[in-house]
Symmetry: C2
Subunit: 583 residues, 2 copies
């Protein structure tokens, strides 16, 4: 019987009376009762799940808090003996995780029953593709780091070289592991697997934290223009930077190069964390794989949305190139001009997006589609990740708003900055509502069958009974997922079809509008993803944030918030694509 999270326990051993099928379907709701009935297996399973959840949570809490203490120690401490300690801690974590992942891969390939089901929603192609892309960038970063540290080997700790080597192996193993196993719903050795996955999650979060800290410190070492940053953190050489010189000439170039690759490594850790978390949630889950409609992607239905979206994308990329080129030059006068162009571009994009999202929400109010009911853990997770990731962008926007308003918001540049931030907040709220509403609707093409079936509930009921009795051999399946029987009716040819034509036309009009809006939002989100991912940092180029807050504070906010913002935009594109398909 299915319990609250889609996990399925074995059916209770009921006597096989003629009434048994009936009772089988009924059992799902009598969870509490049936646990009294079922002698040991179900209880043992439940106990095991509770215990391993608890154990893996405790492991995560301990690893993460110890890690936070070490990171804080390495940043705020005057003696700076902790950078090495932190790296040793990370090396141990990474080696443990790599060993577990290898063990898991070998174990599941040998045991037939280890993975019975795959969750088709988990590890979608954009996530795995992004993982591979960012993984490659991270590998290049590690190679650069190794080459760089070889130059310091004569006067610096060897741990500095060991870490990137170990990390490179880890990235290779993890990318392979997640590519292959992201969809697994593990059935055997669930306690070990839960702990292993939580270890993977903790390791990735620790690597993320260490990378974010190093990135922030790196930006603090290069002082901002007003030069009021007196801190000069150096986390490379414990004995002091000046006493240790690089023995080969490529050091400066390498160092610059690998700092450009840091953001990709940060994204890699976030992606891997998200996938490990989904796998952890899926341990022990039995998925019913009946819920796949073959939804076709046809672009010819829509025209206006993609067209306007493409115009926005091209214009945005144009301004982005100008921005990058002119900011690199470092001329303050030009910098203000390109910042203004950038802000105007963003204002236009975000305004259009908000307007079209409002239109989309209005169409939702008009249309009569049913909401998808029943708990779907992957969907709840998707929604959680969407809202969670949007917090990064929210944070940057609100910090900017406070800084601009508090300093008086004088001049066009500040006014535009304020406008962009306010509009982005509104756009984020609206887009979250739109996507979540869209994900919770039944796909359109089911709608008509449903309306017609509903007119005669007796037919439905009779059919449900017939379906149950006719299902050949799949007895347990019938019991475990009661939704199946009702659901299968939607595609049953005997269901009377033929809804009146006018209604059909009205549906088509709404569907088309929703598809247009989704296509437009997708392209705009791609634009808003590309700009920060490839290096637009108006938050630092406009000095108001760094002047208002202390620079370290501002660097921390932006460096933590932006990667989440990038993740949010990618996630939005994927979710909007799903909404596009189901509309």
């Amino acid at each position: 019987m299915a319990d609250e999270e889609g996990y399925i326990s074995p059916p209770p051993t009921l006597p096989s009376t003629p009434c048994s099928i009936h009772l089988g379907v009924q059992a799902g709701s009598m969870r509490r009762g049936s646990d009294v009935l079922s002698t040991s297996r179900g209880t043992v399973r439940e106990r095991g799940r509770n215990r391993s959840w608890l154990l893996s949570s405790i492991i995560t809490v301990n690893v993460l808090i110890l890690g936070i203490a070490l990171v804080s120690g390495s940043v705020f401490n005057n003696v700076k003996i902790n950078a090495i300690n932190l790296q040793i801690f990370l090396i141990v974590l990474v080696i443990l995780t790599t060993a577990w992942m290898l063990y898991y891969t070998i174990y599941t390939s040998r045991e037939d029953h280890a993975v019975l089901y795959k969750d088709s929603h988990a590890g979608p192609v954009w996530l795995r593709g992004g993982l591979v892309l960012f993984g490659i960038c991270s590998l290049i970063m590690d190679v650069f780091k190794i080459a760089n540290y070889i130059g310091y080997l004569h006067c610096d700790s060897a741990v500095k070289i060991v870490f990137p080597v170990v990390q490179a192996v880890f990235i290779l193993v993890q990318t392979y592991f997640l590519w292959l196993h992201a969809k697994d719903c593990v059935q055997l050795q669930r306690n070990i697997t839960r702990c292993g996955l939580m270890l993977t999650l903790s390791t990735n979060l620790m690597l993320w934290m260490a990378a974010v800290t190093e990135e922030s410190l790196h930006q603090t070492v290069v002082p901002p223009e007003d030069g009021n940053s007196t801190h000069s953190y150096d986390i490379r050489a414990p004995g002091g930077y000046s006493s240790c010189n690089c023995s080969h000439s490529a050091c400066a170039v390498l160092e610059k190069a690998y700092y450009y690759l840091y953001p990709f490594n940060i994204e890699y850790s976030l992606f891997a964390s998200a996938m490990a978390y989904v796998m952890w949630k899926n341990v022990g889950r039995l998925v019913d794989e009946h819920n796949h409609h073959s939804l076709h992607f046809r672009l010819k239905d829509v025209l206006v949305g993609p067209a306007v979206g493409l115009v926005m994308l091209v214009a945005g990329l144009g301004t982005f190139v100008i921005y990058k080129v002119d900011v690199e030059k470092g001329d303050p006068g030009k910098r203000d001009t390109v910042l203004m162009i950038h802000y105007v571009m963003n204002t236009v994009a975000v305004t259009l997006m908000s307007v079209s999202t409002v239109a989309g929400c209005a169409i939702y109010r008009l249309d009569q589609r049913d909401h998808v009911s029943g708990k779907n853990p992957t969907r709840s997770l998707d929604v959680g990740l969407l809202i969670g990731a949007s917090i990064g962008q929210f944070t940057i926007c609100y910090f900017t708003i406070v800084a601009v308003v508090a300093t008086g918001a004088e001049g066009h540049l500040n006014a535009l900055n304020l406008a962009v931030s306010l509009l982005t907040v509104i756009q984020l709220c609206l887009q979250n509502i739109f996507i979540i509403e869209g994900l919770h609707r039944e796909p359109f093409h089911e709608d008509m069958h449903q309306a017609s079936v509903f007119t005669n509930p007796y037919v439905l009921q009779a059919q449900a009974h017939r379906d149950i009795h006719n299902l050949p051999g799949t007895f347990m399946e019938t019991k475990s997922s009661p939704a199946l029987t009702v659901h299968s009716m939607h595609v049953a040819p005997s269901a009377p079809s033929g809804s009146p034509l006018p209604q059909r036309h009205r549906l088509t009009w709404k569907r088309r509008a929703l598809k247009e809006i989704c296509a437009f939002l997708m392209l705009c989100n791609i634009l808003l993803w590309i700009m920060p991912a490839f290096g637009a940092r108006p938050q630092f180029d406009n000095t108001i944030g760094a002047e208002f807050y202390e620079f370290t504070m501002w660097a921390a906010v932006v460096n933590i918030g932006l990667p989440f913002g990038i993740f949010y935009r990618m996630h939005s594109v994927a979710s909007l694509f799903e909404v596009f398909l189901t509309s």
Copy 2:
């Protein structure tokens, strides 16, 4: 039909055939199917729930992030114009929340159907009692603040006085509101109620954040002994402290007095947040109130546990008084001695607690009691709060461990500090496991019935049917909580009892041991609660933390972590009492 979180939608309008009762019970598991069936009301409800959850989450995210930005601005900003802005923001929030709470109280007192059910697990007496106690302390603090700021009125912003006045009204209304309505499961106006409760939660978290910040800054103004703190934040007078003098003589005393009351105000906000969150989770929930066993609290069964616990408590309070008296004197030599006594006392307590917890977990492994199954939102919430609150203590411990290990851990004092921290981490992990395992077990006295009922499933089944048909009038109740029918059997006199006597004796031995352990742990947790709650701050008296991390960082860690630690100990005492009763 009951869905995944205990929320109950109205039954679908099924045709009233002779089979209808059967279908009614069955409907719970056919949630997906029945939603296709049910025409509008169920769907509308579900849609409404999704929408209001989303809306209230978005409100919370926006209020909190804007608040964080304002707090950060007021701390890290050189110009310091934001303290007033922050207070205006808080005043607006507090007024809105107060208005909503008054509206809610009036509305629910007029409408009969607004609150149909009360969740008996929500708002337990320790939580409400703590709320009133801390509320009174917060009121006194506000009175002191008002008296103090009156002295500065001639040269400072009037907002400074408005804030404590508004806050005092808010505390009065909120304490009344939570005392009366903490158990409510609201049925009418659920959208407004969800948003209102989330607003209450946000307001309390914002007040908590502002209080923690002010407390940290206050400690930063008084420089630590080594005198290396160059920052001197002043958030009282925007125009500079020195230019504004108090016009009456009581200012210095008042100021000192209300800073002693800050920790109580911080706890108050935490308590109110927890209760608002529980109420938010309970909106729209229909609770089946059959699950109340009259468990008696009898102390005469246990002896060793309470005795040893009392000895520990008395000894601990003795050392605590010595500690407080000697630390107040400020003599560095004496300070080390009392710190050592304090650490030794803590080491002994934590070690004994760990050992007895291990023994308790071993007994759990031996005993065969069933696990409580079925989702209980209040219990999951309890577990979540327990683990969440323990993170505060974990953080302080790990930060201490890193600081002591990194500086070499020389001397008895550092070794003891390290030992206490390590043992506390172990104790927290063990205690969490013990409490959560205990909360998930069925009460002992049910065990025997269950075992006997299980031997004959046919009896159970027949009886279940009989029970359903016999229930007089409460048709919907039967449908809505299918567990009821099976559960009622446990107390049905017809169930054959009489488990063999030897087993009964073995149970009694285990029960007694568990009760002893719970009683001992309760008293020790009370000790570990009293010491920090009444002002023991070894984290600041031992300067290693403040020296290793920068002082602001260390103050932030301790000031955020300790209130959670205090909350954790109180929560543990309450949970252990529950485990004591069910054992």
